[in-house]
């Protein structure tokens, strides 16, 4: 074990915050669909990578600015999310079976990605990646900065919308007790479809961020599942700010662990944390 310099440590904290923001962005949709729709949506990760590959395609081969692809991806994914929810409710899929069905969807999307873009690694070469801001001795890569801004901005917006708008209150009421909410005039089916659409759109946004900062390959879908679930559960289900905060905590701990020990130890942090939360505070997630 070697003790790194203050600069190195600060840089790794920063890197942790950047990854944490992406964990939070990915976890947000997952947390909302689990906490409010009672669906454990494994396909969220596959959708994110579908979004990432679409961004890659539109940007590398059609020359569209990566951030502008959001204009296509967000509405498209909203529709996908609505469709997914329609199927799951149409067949009255239990929360546990929703996990299995969405795993099936994940496998299909993975096959689709592999079919279209092959299993080779792909990297989006965008103008954003070339820029790096510098503050004192610290470097801030622009793609990660965009992720951080989007992650914090969207999480705050969702938090505010659920807390203070009528629509958000109706959604929370429907999540708490659907029949009672319906008795008070809340059209909970429409709200649930909308929320599912929103969650999928959030996966799309996370996908754009992944495309900006990471190398893509279809099997990478599975690399994120464990750590993002850890962030979701630590943050508390259905709480919009939870995944972001928990994600940053995990991201920073991982990054510091990597700097202080070896990078290969990093998974131990998040997964031990997840096990700890499950065993010590299961009430928080159930």
């Amino acid at each position: 074990m070697n003790f790194p310099s203050a600069t190195l440590l600060a840089q790794s904290v920063l890197a942790g915050l950047f990854t944490g923001a992406l964990y939070g962005l990915l976890g947000l949709g997952l947390s909302l669909s689990w906490g409010m729709l009672r669906q454990i949506n494994l396909a969220h990760f596959a959708l994110a990578f579908l979004g990432a590959y679409l961004t890659y395609e539109l940007s590398s081969h059609r020359g569209i600015d990566p951030l502008l692809t959001l204009a296509v991806i967000v509405p498209l994914f909203f529709v996908l999310g609505v469709a997914l929810h329609w199927v799951l409710t149409r067949f009255r899929v239990s929360p546990f079976n929703s996990l299995l069905v969405t795993f099936g969807i994940t496998v299909i999307i993975e096959a689709l990605l592999q079919w279209t873009w092959t299993a080779d690694y792909r990297k989006l070469e965008s103008s954003y990646a070339e820029h790096k801001l510098q503050i004192g001795p610290l470097f801030l890569p622009v793609p990660e900065l965009i992720t951080l801004v989007l992650g914090v901005g969207i999480s705050l917006a969702v938090w505010f919308a659920l807390r203070s708008t009528d629509l958000g209150k109706a959604m929370r009421a429907a999540a708490e007790d659907a029949p009672i909410a319906a008795a008070f005039g809340v059209n909970q089916n429409a709200l649930a479809l909308m929320l599912s659409g929103l969650n999928a759109a959030l996966a799309g946004v996370a996908g754009v961020c992944i495309a900006l900062a990471y190398t893509l390959s279809p099997s990478q879908i599975y690399a994120w599942i464990g750590v993002v679930f850890a962030a979701v559960m630590l943050g508390g289900l259905g709480r919009p700010l939870g995944p972001l905060i928990a994600g940053c905590v995990i991201g920073v701990t991982e990054a510091v662990t990597m700097t202080v020990t070896a990078p290969s130890w990093a998974p131990l942090v998040s997964f031990s944390l997840l096990m700890f939360v499950l065993l010590v505070r299961p009430g928080r997630v159930a």
């Binding site: 454990i40 199927v87 067949f91 899929v93 929360p95 546990f96 079976n97 996990l99 299995l100 069905v101 795993f103 099936g104 969807i105 994940t106 496998v107 299909i108 993975e110 096959a111 689709l112 592999q114 079919w115 599975y222 599942i225 464990g226 679930f229 850890a230 559960m233 070896a262 290969s264 130890w265 990093a266 998974p267 131990l268 997964f271 031990s272 997840l274 096990m275 499950l278 065993l279 299961p282 009430g283 997630v285 159930a286």
Partner: protein
């Protein structure tokens, strides 16, 4: 069961000649993979399919088996075959350790257990990767000698996988037909009720987890040498446990042979699409199959086939349907004469009236809500004790506490002079306390007969399966459910489900029977039937604690009553007297009753004090 054992053994023996048939080696490889997945899916099903605890950590135990074998064979030069038992033991120990922690936390069920086991996979992987067990580059096993069992190396691996598969299937089959398996299926449907009926749920889950992990460890050990190069990246994936889940769900998780069907189908499907682009199509197809099965065939291929088969078999048998009840008639005829409880009633009347169950200063709080605030009461042998009180006064909580469903916050409960507060619910049940639930909680996937046989196996009677079934027939006759013996609880009406609760509680041959609002929701004529039934039970010598709002029944049945109010005992004594006491009356109505006119005697559900008065005046 014996026949199934023989079929599995015969199939194993028949398949064992394959290596000597001189087939091209690639047949042995594909068959190896089929058997490999059969063993993995079946071992997973042993815990997850039977008990409903879906583990996503099967890869961890498989991987622990791989690394145990790899380490022992390469570092310590232990002959390969000797490493396999070690692989099983190490995997089983880690499984038991994880289970010992996880199963202590009540809330870690369903998807939380899945995530916990998934997380455990990556913790194990990281530890192995970063310690000398692997250290990073992976473990090469090319120098390890392949034992010469078959004519070729491929034949040897095939035979090893065959042994692992047969072993696993036999284990799954044995558990399926044992008490252990019955208990696991009860845990699957309703763990709390299973525990209250005498199933040692913690021990059973732990046992199933260890067995399932150990078998996965053996398969891992064989596979380590088969691939001969072990890395953490390829071993501890999320795809492996999910594939196993897919196979078991596809075949059907509620039958020992389900995973065999699923594993064979998926492996052959993937094999049909090997190589390049078609492998991708194969992958996509497995995804589609999984979705289709869950949406359209939630019981799996085998489950669906068995259902179809039994429907077909029953259809022509319909005219002869009396065959089943006829079988029931024999024990049923004797039910009234020599019902099992009669044995209990043989206890001399001399000790009737002795204190059987005693509660002293029992408190129960739920996060600041005090449901019981120091309840002391006694239940005497042979009596019917009524527990009364307004809604929320603590009657049901008392039953929940006395049956071990909830732990007491403070205080002492003794049964036959022995402390039972703080004792696990299944031990209380085995000691001779049975209860019913206010809202019936039958095991949804077990037939009415199996529902009643279960407490006979696990409760105070502790019968073996066959005797328990005979016993169950008697109690079905006693409660008038004989004709519905093979129905599922969902097909019963409320009245029948309430009587099923009775039959289940009685089948354990309890000394104390606690009835939690068994009459609520029944029609007046059904209530009459139930009252007659309770009389019959008491006449056979059981002691009954009876929570009820239907005053007509309380007055007709109870020897003594205890009135609860706000978690405390308000009054206690002979029904007649107690119901006249002003404090009891005001607890119900909040005012004195003197000026009130008696209510029309017709109402069966009359408010308590009125009914008391009415009876008193009668």
């Amino acid at each position: 069961m014996k026949r199934a054992f023989l079929i599995v053994l015969a199939a194993g023996a028949g398949l064992a000649v394959v290596p000597w048939l001189g087939l091209p080696a690639f047949y042995e490889s594909i068959l190896y993979l089929v058997l490999h997945w059969i063993a993995l899916a079946t071992s997973w099903n042993l815990l997850s399919g039977y008990s409903g605890y879906f583990s996503f950590g099967h890869g961890a135990f498989f991987g622990i088996g791989m690394y145990t074998t790899a380490t022992l064979a390469t570092r310590f030069d232990i002959p390969f075959l000797w490493t396999l038992p070690a692989a099983a033991v190490v995997a089983a120990l880690v499984g038991a350790l994880l289970g010992a922690v996880a199963f202590r936390v009540q809330a870690v069920r369903a998807e939380l257990f899945s995530l916990l086991t998934l997380a455990a996979t990556f913790v194990v992987a990281t530890i192995i990767l970063n310690t000398p067990i692997d250290g990073g580059p992976g473990v090469y096993m090319s120098a390890v000698a392949v034992p010469q069992i078959g004519p070729t190396a491929a034949g040897t691996f095939y035979l090893l996988a065959l042994c692992a598969a047969v072993l696993t299937v036999l284990a799954a089959l044995a558990v399926y037909h044992s008490r252990f398996g019955t208990g696991l299926f009860a845990i699957h449907d309703d763990e709390d009720v299973a525990e209250v009926m005498g199933v040692p749920t913690y021990r059973y889950k732990l046992g199933a987890f260890a067995l399932s992990s150990g078998l996965a460890g053996v398969v891992g050990g064989v596979h380590a040498l088969f691939i001969s190069y072990v890395t953490t990246g390829d071993t501890f994936t999320i795809a492996m446990p999910l594939t196993v889940v897919l196979m078991a769900v596809l075949g059907g998780t509620r039958h020992w042979a389900g995973p065999i069907v699923g594993a064979t189908a998926i492996t052959l499907l993937l094999y049909a699409f090997t190589g390049g682009d078609s492998a991708i199509i194969g992958k996509g197809l497995t995804g589609l199959v999984l979705i289709a099965v869950i949406l359209f065939m939630p019981q799996g291929l085998l489950g669906q086939a068995l259902k179809w088969w039994s429907a077909r078999r029953d259809a022509p048998a319909a005219p002869a349907a009396s065959a089943a009840p006829a079988h029931a008639e024999a024990p049923a005829a004797s039910a009234h004469a020599a019902a099992p409880v009669a044995a209990a009633s043989a206890r001399p009347a001399a000790n009737a009236g002795e204190v059987l169950l005693r509660a002293e200063g029992v408190r129960k709080s739920f996060k600041g809500v005090h449901a019981l605030r120091g309840v002391s009461l006694e239940v005497r042998r042979g009596e019917i004790l009524g527990l009364l009180g307004p809604n929320g006064s603590g009657k049901s909580t008392f039953i929940n506490v006395a049956s071990g469903h909830y732990a007491v916050t403070a205080g002492l409960i003794e049964f036959e002079g022995r402390r039972i507060s703080g004792v696990p619910a299944h031990r209380i049940a085995q000691g001779g306390i049975a209860r019913t639930y206010q809202i019936p909680r039958p095991f949804a996937h077990l037939t009415v007969l199996e529902n009643v046989a279960l407490p006979a196996m696990f409760g105070a009677a502790a019968l073996d399966r066959q005797t328990a079934e005979a016993e169950a027939w008697q109690w079905l006759a006693f409660t008038g459910l004989t004709e519905r013996a093979h129905a599922l609880p969902a097909d019963l009406n409320l009245h029948q489900r309430k009587f099923l609760e009775f039959a289940r509680a009685l089948a354990s041959r309890p000394q104390v029977l606690m009835l939690d609002e068994v009459l609520s929701g029944l029609t007046p004529s059904e209530i009459d039937e139930a009252v007659a039934l309770i009389r019959r039970i008491r006449d056979q010598g059981a002691t009954i604690v009876f929570v009820e709002h239907v005053m007509r029944a309380v007055m007709a049945l109870c020897d003594r009553i205890v009135v609860f109010n706000r978690g405390e005992v308000l009054a206690e004594g002979v029904p007649h007297d107690v119901m006249q006491r002003p404090e009891v009356v005001s607890a119900y109505l909040g005012q004195a009753m003197e000026e009130r006119a008696p209510v029309a005697p017709a109402s069966a559900h009359a408010v308590v004090p009125n009914a008391g008065k009415e009876l008193a005046h009668a």
